[in-house]
Structure formats: structure tokens, C-alpha cells
């Protein structure tokens, strides 16, 4: 039986990540990060593929799928669930909070009609909170994919989101 193309793509991405970061145990997090970046999340097939390609008792590298899932669920930047095309990360820590962060957060939720962790029905947006991203001098701060926005006010939300139409 021929594997479905989706799985082929996952295997190819995993293979490329392993080629780049190596087959040692300490390469696991970089490999998972790479897969997460390429696919937007880490599907179950990816865990299986990584396990099969790296598990090598002869070289003292012992890995189970469960361990890989444990890693992916531990780290905040890795996702085991599909996410929207654009991920909005909003800093919810104290420095942003005291300079008006809550009003921005409320405006975001209202505009997208999402709660923390939710994805819009058209799979365009995912909204999550994040811990401090070190841009505290320009709070409140939000991150859309890799783009940073500082000194955000509730009124600016619509304009910012328009860039991603």
C-alpha cells in the first residue's frame, strides 16, 4: 500500500530536520522545533517517524513515541494540535498588564471572537497568551507569527490584523 501523501510530506520534513540537527538525543528539541515550524504543529506521524529514525540502542539512543509527546507537550512553543495560519501571542505578564494590557487582550478576544487557545473556524487565526517575551519597555506587546508589535492600544487591533489579509 502506498502511504498517503500527507504522511510522505511529514516524513520528508522529519528527515530534513534530522539531517540538519543530527541523530543524538540532545538534537530532539531542535528537531521538534524544526518540524513544528515547517508544519505549524507536530502531528502524530512525526513522532512515529522521529522515533523510527533515531531509536538506536546500539548507539545508546533510546527514544519512545511517548517521550517525544512528553517533550512536545512540555514546551510552550511546540504544539501537538493544528493551529491557525497565523498565531497571535499576547503577553499576559505583569509589566504589560500594568500599562494597559488587559484592555488590549479584551479587544483581541472580541475582534476575533476567540478565547485563549482558540482557533477561528476558517483556520486563519489562533489566539494564545504567552509569558514575557522580553520587550517590556514597549508594553503591551503582542506577537503575530514572528512579527512584534509594541505599545499596542485596543484601537490599533483592527489595523494590525489587516496586514495579514
Amino acid at each position: 500500500m502506498i502511504a498517503p501523501p500527507v504522511e510522505n510530506e511529514v516524513v520528508a520534513v522529519v528527515q530534513a530536520a534530522i539531517d540538519k540537527h543530527g541523530k543524538k538525543r540532545d538534537a530532539l528539541i531542535p528537531i521538534l522545533s524544526e518540524v513544528n515550524k515547517k508544519l505549524g504543529y507536530i502531528p502524530g506521524e512525526a513522532f512515529r517517524a522521529i522515533q523510527q529514525m533515531l531509536h538506536n540502542p546500539a548507539e545508546q539512543v533510546r527514544i519512545s513515541e511517548g517521550q517525544l509527546y512528553g517533550l512536545a507537550s512540555f514546551y510552550d512553543m511546540l504544539s501537538t494540535k493544528p493551529r491557525g495560519k497565523h498565531v497571535i501571542k499576547f503577553c499576559e505578564n505583569a509589566p504589560c498588564h500594568v500599562v494597559g494590557g488587559k484592555a488590549v487582550w479584551d479587544a483581541l478576544r472580541e475582534k476575533l471572537n476567540l478565547n485563549n487557545g482558540g482557533t477561528t473556524l476558517d483556520s486563519k487565526w489562533t489566539l494564545v497568551t504567552t509569558s514575557c517575551i522580553g520587550l517590556c519597555s514597549v508594553g503591551p506587546v503582542l506577537l503575530i507569527d514572528d512579527d512584534m508589535y509594541g505599545n499596542v492600544t485596543p484601537e490599533q487591533i483592527s489595523d494590525i490584523l489587516k496586514h495579514y489579509e
Binding site: 543524538k24 538525543r25 540532545d26 538534537a27 530532539l28 528539541i29 531542535p30 521538534l32 522545533s33 512528553g70 517533550l71 512540555f74 514546551y75 510552550d76 512553543m77 511546540l78 499576559e92 505578564n93 505583569a94 509589566p95 498588564h97 500594568v98 500599562v99 504567552t130 509569558s131 514575557c132 517575551i133 522580553g134 520587550l135 517590556c136 519597555s137 514597549v138 508594553g139 514572528d146
Partner: protein, 552 residues
């Protein structure tokens, strides 16, 4: 019981009484009655204000404005301006304490900006961080050359120990001693790890170093490796710092090309290789043993200690784990000597500290100043004062795990020893300045939400404690607090301090304790009176059958 909107504290130590404090209290009450404010404002007394030159002293809460010396005949004006008209009586304000002398002598070299002493940030912003030649022209790698060609590993450690440099990640452990432990530890293979997993909320000093002067970290790690006998190093950068990661990667390539890293550095038989590793988003990985676990490709759960990383670190080998800011001090100390370094700061905390300032102030950003300057100096000089209409209510030092400092403690010198004595923590050097519109319960809720989210879940006291404490504080913020919560919170805090495995759980109790220690009346107002004095918390009446619906 009626809610009072303000509280006036008058100093009544013997000296204040000699200067007319009792008469002042009488006059204040009389003036309050004249404006018909006696039901809205309380007058009480306070001792030990530690400001002998401005007695009698008057502090007006909730804004914590300090007036002094106030004479009985000033009482009328003070009440009229501050409590009747609602503005600060400027000509009665207590003068700020004198400059500590630590910043009095600093040069101003950046236009109109206040003077700083830059050691850690000496090159950051002055050179092109992606060009190693600019770095070399500004003394880059000079200290490494000096160490390798003219010094023994022991003499390097001696200088660092004599300089009194303490770890800048928050704990303040003497760096020289840590290196000595690792040098003395048995084993051929040793590692140097740079902790660049800066995720303490409000802290971005390490990002400025990594992005602005990546070579200083490489040079310092090579010096550390020479001193302890290591040949391999790792820089663990948090995953969110993409630019810092790319610059460090590039800097490593350049340094290898110039022969500052790699084999036979400076023509000696010393070899050193640096790897760079990106985190994937976990606050707890800033804890050194969790960071080592993460480097090994595991979940970043802190290890049980002892054994400590100095003997059992990365892959169970002796390992130096130093913070970015700590390392950035090393080359300058080797170039200029321990005596020079000790000329900055205080005898117990030598050197400078990089602070990140933010909140309700006019200037937010990074400054580097000698250890031991006061919070008042930081706010008034470096942050250029509070925003118009804001008065200082509290400051939070050192990110979430730091202390909440009420306005009355703003004259405590910021160094490890003075802070320890005052029972507060310097932490990572983040200074979050909050004004009178900040509700302490709301702030504590945000902090506990952070800990609840970031607790790794390995040990029960932290996993359950942070969640329970958050639930209780959230309940108080919704107007559903109970009086027994005031006992439950310190109990939970105590359990977390005693039984948690690592610093995350042990310091998650700090906001709880500081909230109850300094702002207990404000918390009680939420519970007893069902009102938030600052108006931040919104109390919602719950529909009677809401419980039923959620169970269904």
C-alpha cells in the same frame, strides 16, 4: 463600617513629638473637620520612619506621598490641597534623600541622559555586533589573549574571586568560588554553560547583551573554560530570542575564523568549542538544572539537588553555569583588575548592575549603574520621574519571583546585602514601577497566573500550591473572598517554600507574602467591604443558579 478613602500617617517617635507631632495631629483633625472630611479620612501614627532630617513626617495613603517636615500651621494647607482639592501640596513634600555618592561621581557621556557606568553594556550599541573587527578594535578578545598567554588558570580564578563578582541571574553566588569548585572537581571532561534563557517577566538585559555584543559572551566563556579546564561550552538561548540566536551563531563562526575559538587558541594548546542551543518556551528552564535537562534533550524538569552542577552537571560532568550578565563582566575584570572592579558598587556587592525599568514612568529601558543606588534614584533620575498624574505605589523588583516593594522602602540601597536585610530580593534586576491605579490583588493574580502556567508539574507543592493560591486570589478579586483566605494564603506559601523542588515553587510564595505584609488593608477591603479601593477589580453578581448550570 464606612470605607475611608484616605489615611494620614504622622510620625510620633520621640524626636517628632519634640518637634510638635502631637500638635500637628490635632491641627490635621481640625482641618479635616473644617472641610467636613472627618468621616472620609483617618489620621494615625507611625514610628521609625528613618528620616531624621525631615521630622515630623506625614505620609498620605493610598498615594503614599511623603511630606516633611510639616509644622502644625501647615496642616490646613496640606488638607486643603491633597485631600480637598486632590492635588499634591508640592511645597510641603519631603526632599528626596541625598544621592548615595555611588552615582554622584559618574560621568555623563550620552548627551542629556543621566550618567551611567557601563561595564557589561560597554560595547553594546557602540559597535556593529555582526562585525568582529569592530569588537576587536574596542578591546575585544584582549582579556582572553592575556589570560592564555600571561596567566595561569589559578591566577584567573584568583582575580575573579578578588573582584567579588556575584552571579547576576538572581541568586548572587560568588562566581570565582563556583569556578574554583569546578576546577577542583574530579574528571577530565568539563563544560561551560551560558544561561541565556532569560524569561523572568520584565527582564531583557541579557537580550541587549546577546544582540548588542555577542562576542563578549564567547570571550568570557573561553576564559572560564581555560580557568576550570573545560574544552566545550553551550549557550542556551530561549527560543523566543531569534535575533540573539542568529547573532551568536554568526559571532561563533567569526571567532572560529579569527582563531579565538577552536583549536590552539592564540597559539597555545588550549582548545574550546561553543555550541548554541535554542529553547522551546519554558520559564522553568532558566533554573540551572532544568536547563541542563533541556540541553540533554529532555523535559526541562529541575533535578533534585545536591549533587550540584559544579560536580554533576551536563551529562553528569562538572559544569559551570553562568548567567549572561555575569559572564559579560569577566573580560573587563581581567583587563582592568580586581581593584578597579571593586571601585564600583558597595564593598559587599561590587560592580555594576543592569536594570530594566518599566511601568508607569516616563522612560522605560535598560540602564547600567553601580550596585547600591536606591529605587528613588532610579525612578527620579533614570526613569525621569513618574508619568504625569502618577504617584508611586509599589515597585516590583526582579520579575515575578522578585519582591513587591511599597513606596516607603524606596530608599533602600539596591545591593544584595541591603536587600537581604530588608527582606526583599534583587532578583534579575527588573524594576516594574506601579502607580496608584494598580490594585495589589489584581497584580498578585497576574503573578500567580504566571507561576501556575509555568510550573513544570514535577513536584506537588508547586503544581498544586500555585493553582490553589491563584484560585483564592482570583476569588478575592471577584469579591468572593473569605476571611479564612487570609490564613490559607500564608499556609500555602509556607508549604511551597519548604517543600518545592526548585526556585520556581519556592519563590512563587513571594508575591503572596509581600501582598499580605505591605498591603493587607487593601486585601481586606476586597473581602470585608466587597470593594476594590483602586476600582480595578470588577465584582460581578453571580446569577443564583449558575452553580447548577455549570454542573449540568
Amino acid at each position: 463600617m464606612k470605607t475611608k478613602r484616605a489615611m494620614i500617617l504622622v510620625s510620633n517617635d520621640p524626636e517628632s513629638i519634640r518637634l510638635g507631632a502631637n500638635k500637628l495631629i490635632y491641627s490635621l483633625n481640625k482641618a479635616l473637620a473644617a472641610y467636613n472630611l472627618q468621616d472620609e479620612v483617618d489620621v494615625s501614627t507611625i514610628t521609625d520612619v528613618n528620616r531624621s532630617n525631615v521630622l515630623p513626617l506625614v505620609i498620605v495613603y493610598p498615594e503614599a506621598v511623603v511630606y516633611g517636615p510639616v509644622k502644625p500651621e501647615d496642616a490646613h494647607l496640606l488638607i486643603e490641597e491633597h485631600l480637598y482639592k486632590g492635588r499634591i501640596a508640592a511645597n510641603l513634600l519631603a526632599p528626596p534623600k541625598q544621592l548615595t555618592g555611588l552615582i554622584g561621581s559618574l560621568r555623563t557621556h550620552r548627551g542629556y541622559n543621566p550618567a551611567e557606568q557601563r561595564i557589561v553594556l560597554e560595547r553594546a550599541g557602540r559597535i556593529d555586533p555582526e562585525n568582529i573587527e569592530e569588537c576587536i578594535a574596542a578591546n575585544g578578545y584582549e582579556a582572553l589573549g592575556k589570560a592564555l598567554t600571561a596567566m595561569t588558570p589559578e591566577s584567573v580564578i584568583d582575580i575573579i574571586e578578588k573582584s567579588g563578582l556575584q552571579g547576576r541571574g538572581g541568586a548572587g553566588f560568588p562566581t570565582g568560588r563556583k569556578w574554583r569548585f569546578v576546577r577542583a572537581a574530579p574528571g577530565e571532561k568539563k563544560y561551560i554553560v551560558c544561561n541565556a534563557d532569560e524569561s523572568e517577566p520584565g527582564t531583557f538585559k541579557d537580550r541587549i547583551v546577546l544582540e548588542g555584543d555577542p562576542h563578549v559572551i564567547l570571550e568570557a566563556m573561553a576564559i572560564a573554560a581555560y580557568a576550570v579546564g573545560a574544552d566545550e561550552g553551550y549557550i542556551y538561548i530561549r527560543g523566543e530570542y531569534g535575533l540573539a540566536f542568529r547573532r551568536i551563531e554568526k559571532a561563533i563562526l567569526q571567532a572560529e575564523e579569527f582563531g579565538f575559538l577552536g583549536k590552539n587558541i592564540f597559539g597555545t594548546d588550549f582548545n574550546f568549542k561553543i555550541h548554541v542551543h535554542a529553547g522551546a518556551g519554558a520559564y522553568v528552564c532558566g533554573e540551572e538544572t532544568a536547563l541542563l535537562e533541556s540541553l540533554e534533550g529532555k523535559r526541562g524538569e529541575p533535578r533534585a539537588r545536591p549533587p550540584y552542577p559544579v560536580t554533576h552537571g551536563l551529562w553528569n560532568k562538572p559544569t559551570v553555569v553562568n548567567n549572561v550578565e555575569t559572564l559579560a563582566n569577566i573580560p573587563a575584570i581581567l583587563r582592568n583588575g580586581a581593584e578597579w572592579y571593586r571601585s564600583f558598587g558597595t564593598p559587599s556587592s561590587p560592580g555594576t548592575k543592569v536594570y530594566t525599568i518599566m511601568g508607569n514612568v516616563n522612560f522605560s529601558g535598560v540602564i547600567e549603574v553601580p550596585m547600591g543606588i536606591t529605587l528613588r534614584e532610579v525612578i527620579n533620575i533614570y526613569a525621569r520621574g513618574m508619568k504625569p498624574g502618577s504617584t508611586l505605589k509599589l515597585a516590583q523588583t526582579g520579575g515575578s519571583s522578585g519582591s513587591i516593594i511599597p513606596a516607603v522602602l524606596q530608599d533602600t540601597p539596591m545591593d544584595f546585602e541591603s536587600f537581604r536585610k530588608a527582606g526583599v530580593s534583587l532578583g534579575s534586576g527588573a524594576l516594574l514601577i506601579c502607580d496608584q491605579h494598580t490594585c495589589i490583588v489584581d497584580l498578585a493574580k497576574v503573578l500567580l497566573q504566571f507561576f501556575r502556567f509555568e510550573s513544570c508539574g514535577k513536584c506537588t507543592p508547586c503544581r498544586v500550591g500555585t493553582s490553589r493560591a491563584f484560585e483564592i486570589i482570583e476569588r478575592i478579586s471577584q469579591g468572593k473572598g473569605r476571611l479564612e483566605d487570609l490564613d490559607a494564603l500564608p499556609n500555602i506559601a509556607g508549604e511551597m517554600e519548604r517543600a518545592s523542588n526548585c526556585g520556581l515553587g519556592q519563590t512563587a510564595s513571594v508575591p503572596i507574602r509581600d501582598m499580605l505584609k505591605h498591603f493587607r488593608t487593601e486585601v481586606e477591603a476586597h473581602i470585608r467591604l466587597g470593594s476594590c479601593p483602586t476600582g480595578v477589580c470588577q465584582f460581578m453578581e453571580e446569577p443564583e443558579n449558575s452553580q447548577k448550570i455549570s454542573n449540568f
